[in-house]
Structure formats: structure tokens, C-alpha cells
Symmetry: C4
Amino acid sequence: MTKGRLEAFSDGVIAVAITLLVLNIMVPPPRAPGTLAHKLLAQWPSYAAYGTSFVTIGIIWTNHHVMISRLRQPDRAILLLNLALLLWIGVLPFATNVLATYLKQGQGEHLAAAVYSGSFLLMALTFATLNHHILFTKTHLLVTPIAEQRRRQILAFSVAGVAPYAAATALAVVSPYVTLAICAGIAVFYATPLGSGGSEPSS
Amino acid sequence: MTKGRLEAFSDGVIAVAITLLVLNIMVPPPRAPGTLAHKLLAQWPSYAAYGTSFVTIGIIWTNHHVMISRLRQPDRAILLLNLALLLWIGVLPFATNVLATYLKQGQGEHLAAAVYSGSFLLMALTFATLNHHILFTKTHLLVTPIAEQRRRQILAFSVAGVAPYAAATALAVVSPYVTLAICAGIAVFYATPLGSGGSEPSS
Amino acid sequence: MTKGRLEAFSDGVIAVAITLLVLNIMVPPPRAPGTLAHKLLAQWPSYAAYGTSFVTIGIIWTNHHVMISRLRQPDRAILLLNLALLLWIGVLPFATNVLATYLKQGQGEHLAAAVYSGSFLLMALTFATLNHHILFTKTHLLVTPIAEQRRRQILAFSVAGVAPYAAATALAVVSPYVTLAICAGIAVFYATPLGSGGSEPSS
Amino acid sequence: MTKGRLEAFSDGVIAVAITLLVLNIMVPPPRAPGTLAHKLLAQWPSYAAYGTSFVTIGIIWTNHHVMISRLRQPDRAILLLNLALLLWIGVLPFATNVLATYLKQGQGEHLAAAVYSGSFLLMALTFATLNHHILFTKTHLLVTPIAEQRRRQILAFSVAGVAPYAAATALAVVSPYVTLAICAGIAVFYATPLGSGGSEPSS
């Protein structure tokens, strides 16, 4: 198994998942009451969830690329952890849809928000696990040796992404809007130079 | 982050988005009144919107390739602007569906047309911004230096694409058919040699 | 524009279109009358249309690869003809769905069959046009010069694929089953060594 | 036809098929009775079928890569067998949906389970056939010669995957849950080092 084909397959799954997100934005039925403007505005949760998920998946793709670029060649354990990561990414169109559908229902919105950020949490946990496996267990598969301090730094950065998702999931009990806002905030943070700690792709 | 993987991911998202457009063309329900011929003809807005969006995305793909080919290596800002561009391309199946659904409804059709051309407008604006960033801010990342006059010419060509989409969006107030016609005209124009100004891929 | 990225984008669109075909096979609603076995058997037109379209797109992909492999580099006209080819391939999930939905309706089934084979006809016509353009107009873009006789032979083979689709479309007036059978027959024929005339990929 | 493009196309189809699986997990309609928690839990068959199909397709992708990596160049027969393999993989989102929809219906669930594992069975049979064709009929197309004993060993491993799917399909008469459990077990088995017999991608 060459690294190239692992990247190609991962790119494919991530590209399809990010593009399928749009299927969650429904065209308002013409027969429903109200003007189109009203109906389009009323489904703003769909747009917020779409944007947040799109940027999050885009950043995961970037970080995935940086993580794999350190690897000379994958082994079976890496393939399986990568498959688990793709499985959680593949779930995101569903989780996004759950949030968009229930955010304003006045029923189930807390659980829907927990499903949403919980999916990101599982994705972030799997990402950190895979990163740990590459950096600390399979060091002989690295392209070039990396000093232990630097490896700890990179891993700490990966693990740091887990905490806010855990917080967002816990806070779904309080307010689903807070959960969505934290998830959006994480996406914005990782998009800034500040949030590129262990993974600056180039200078 | 190598250029190759940026291209592969962008190609993937664009290929999925362009192919998802077909999901907007509904098979007429057999139980609805009228012959199949009548029902298929009645949904001509779906075909017009499909064709226009398909050709537009195809041309954006071509121009995206030419733009990225000038780049030696992407940096984080370029990755993020590219992600924003992909986000707007990803929205197009939804925007296409809105227009196709409402064009003949006699209700909401003006707004639907504005959503349609407005999505192209945002895509064109992001494209021009990304092109400006590559050509004028990150000149050290270019494969080969480009004379400033030539860079201005290329950018002017990118920016020129923005105006007709702005006009099409504004004219949605007058007639959604005019908006669709302008969008289709832009696609046809850019498909001709005349419309290949700054971006002739080869001779 | 390098040949590699043209191939990658075409592969992406074709891979998505071929995989979207499955969305046309509906899961029978549990509440509809009859056993699941009966309901699954009743929708055999979906399976026949799925198989025929899948194999046809797979063969077009093979032949597309052989056609492009002769090319050193695409130019704008080739890009646009290729985009037109992808547009017709992108329509196939819709055309397949029309046939599967109407074949047994006792209403509209003739037109549905004509839409189905007509889409293949347009695809085959565009393929032959693109092949003609590459082989006779843009000979300077070929990887290696090809003797005129051989080029005529290759083109004849491409054009030969058009006639049976025209026949299948015309015969939709007589029977949609005949149309489907011809389309399936063409797919089988091109899958055999006999049907690989101008385009044997290797020995 | 180069090996590279065969891999790229196969990767594309498999990546799209694995990601389309998520479309089978429905967002529970807000108006249906019961809490969201109850409704989400009630559709656990969707999650079980999603996870099982996702891991199975992921493993088939890995094994497909190993199989093709032994090949110097594909010929027409290999292309066609590969297309047949992709056809069965393309069917899996439908088969997964059938099982998820009917597992708890108290009607049609036995047949639904047989459709599910039967699709895996056809996929495994086609995989073994393709592997046999590469290893025993087209030995001149191998990258490096492989000792006959080793080839038998690899093929035996491929064929061994067929039996449990046949058993799972037969046992659908007894219980659809047993069928699902066997399919999930096969996925888990092949994911372990134990199940990587003939196809360890690296050490």
C-alpha cells in the first residue's frame, strides 16, 4: 500500500462528504405558506450548519494532509485508523442534517446539537489517536526522524482540538445555539494562522 | 502541502458538485396529470439551469487549473481562499435547484433568480480575490516571475467576470428569465476563444 | 492545462455519475401492499437500467482513456468538447431513472425509452465528434503521428457506435423493451473482444 | 490503459459508494411521535448497517489495492472484471438501505438480510474471480513472477472470504440479525492482523 493511494482515497471520501453537505439544504416547497424570502431566511440553521461543517471538513483535510505527509508508508493499523476517521467524516452530512432540522423545532434541539458536536468530537478523537499512532508507535515509518519534543508538541496540538468539542457537546444541554457557536468558533480559530500550530503547511 | 494534493482535492469537490447537479432534474411523478412529454417539457427550467450551471462549473474548473498552475506551492491563506471558493461551488446544486423550482411558480421567481446568479457572483468574487492574492501578495510562490503588466491583465480578466453576474443579480428584479439568460450567456462567452483572455490553457 | 488533470477531472465526473446510478433503485416502501420479494421483483426495470447504464458508462470511461492517451496536451476546443461529453454522461442518472420509472407504467413508456437511448445517442455523437477533432483537426497535439488510414479506422469504430443508438431511439415507438434490449446489447457487444476494435487498451 | 488510471477510477467509485452510504441514515421527521432520542435509537439498524458496509468497503478497497499492485498493466478482461466488481460495490448503498429499512419491520426482514449479505457475496465472488484471473491466467502481466504455491495461498485467502458470506445469506432464513452479525464479524475479522493473510500491505 503506497502512501499516494491512501491519500487519493482519503481525498476522494473527504471531497464527496464535503460536497454532499449541500443536499441538506432543502429547496423550500413552493406550496408551503409564506414568501420565498421568508422561507429561505427561516432555514438559516441549514446555512450555519453547512458553513461550519464545510470549513471544519476543509480544515481536517488540510491537517490530514500534513499528518500523512510525515509518513513514508502506511501499515495496516494506520489504514484502519484512517478508515475510522473517514467513517466519522462520512457521518457528518447526517449529523449536520440532524442539527439543521431540529435546531428551531423546540423539541429535540439539545440532543440534535449534541449529535452534531459529538460527531466532530469523535472525528477529533480519532484524528488524535491516528496522529499519536504515527508519531509515537510507528516512528520507523516516518519520512524523517522528528525530535520527541516536537512530536509531543504536534500531538498536543491535535489533542487540544478535542477539548472544545467535548465542551460544545456538554453545553448542548444548556443551549444548542451555544454548541453551534462553539463549533463555528473552532472552525474559524483553526482557519487563522494562530490555529495552525503544529501543522503549518508551508511558510 | 503540495500543489498536487490541493489540485486533487479541488478537482474532487468540483467533479462531485458538477455531477450532483443532475439530482435537481426530477423524474415527473407518473401519477401527476398530463402526458410524460408534457411533463418533461414543462420542467425546461431544470434543463436550462442544469446546462448553465454545468458549463459554468466546467469553465471555473478550467480557469482554476490555470490559476493554480502558476503557483509553486500553496500557503495557508491560499488554502483558505480556495476552500471558500469550493464552498460557493458546493452551494451551486442548491442554488440551481432553487431557480429550477421557482422559475415558473409565479411566486418567488425573482428572488430565486437572484439566489442563482448571486451564488455565481460570490463564486466569481472569491475567484478574483484568490487570483489577486496569488498574483500580487504571494508573488514569491509563483512558479516563474510574471511581469506586473501581465499580472494586471490576468487579474482584470478575472474581475471582468464579476460585473455581468452583478448585473444579472440586479436584473432579477425585472425578470428572472433575463437573469438566467445572462448567466447562460456568460457561460457561452467564456467557452468561446474570445472569453479565454487571460487563461488560454495552450495554443 | 496538462493532460493529467483533464483525465483526473473526467475520471472524477464519470466515477460520480456511475455511482449515483444506484440512487435510482428505490427501497420499496414497507407500507406498500405485497411481500418484499414481490415488490423487489416488480422493480426489475430499475436493475436492468442500472446494469445497462453502469456497463455503458464503464466502457465509455475505457474508451475515453484510450482516446485521451493519444493526446499530448488538450487545447480549449478539446476541453469544451470533453465538457460536453461529461454533461451527457452526467445526464445519464436522470435518463436511467426516467426509463426505470416509466417502463411498466403503461403510459409514457415509449418516450421514456427514447429519452434513455437518446441520451446514449447524444453521448456517442459527442464522443465521435471529440475523437474526430483529436484525430483529424488537432493532429499536431497527438503523442505520436498516426497514419491516416489508421485514424480513419479508429474514427469509423467510434462512429459505428452511433448507429445502433439511433436505431434504439427510433424503435422506442415500437417497444420500449426493444430499446432497452438494444442498449443492453450494445454494452455487451462493446465489452467483448469483438467490440474493442479501435481501442484495445493492451494485448 | 495504464494501471494508474484504473486505480484512480476504482478509487473514485469506491470513495463515492462508501460516502453515499450515509444517505441511508434518515433524519427522523420532527412530526413523527416520540422524542428525538427515542427516534434516533429506534433506527439503530441504519447505524449497524452503515458501519458494517463502511468497514467492508474500506477493506475491499485495501485488498483491491494489493491485488492491483501485483499487476504491471491491465488488459480488457481485467478491466471488465474490475467493472463488474465496481458494479457490485455500487449496489451496496441500495442493499444497505434495504436491510436498514426492513430489519425491524416484522415483514420482509429475512429477504432484506439475504439481499444485504448476498450483495457482499457477489462482490466477494467477483473479487476472487478477478484475483484468479490475474494470478493464474494473466501471469505475464504480473509485476514480478510469483511462485505458484504463493499464488495458491493468496487465492485461497480470497476464496475463503466467500464462504462466510454464503453462510450469512443462507442463515437469513433463520434470522436477519444473525446475517447482520456475521457480516459485521467478517468485517472485524478482516480488519485484524489475523485476517490480513494474503494481503499484508506492508510490515
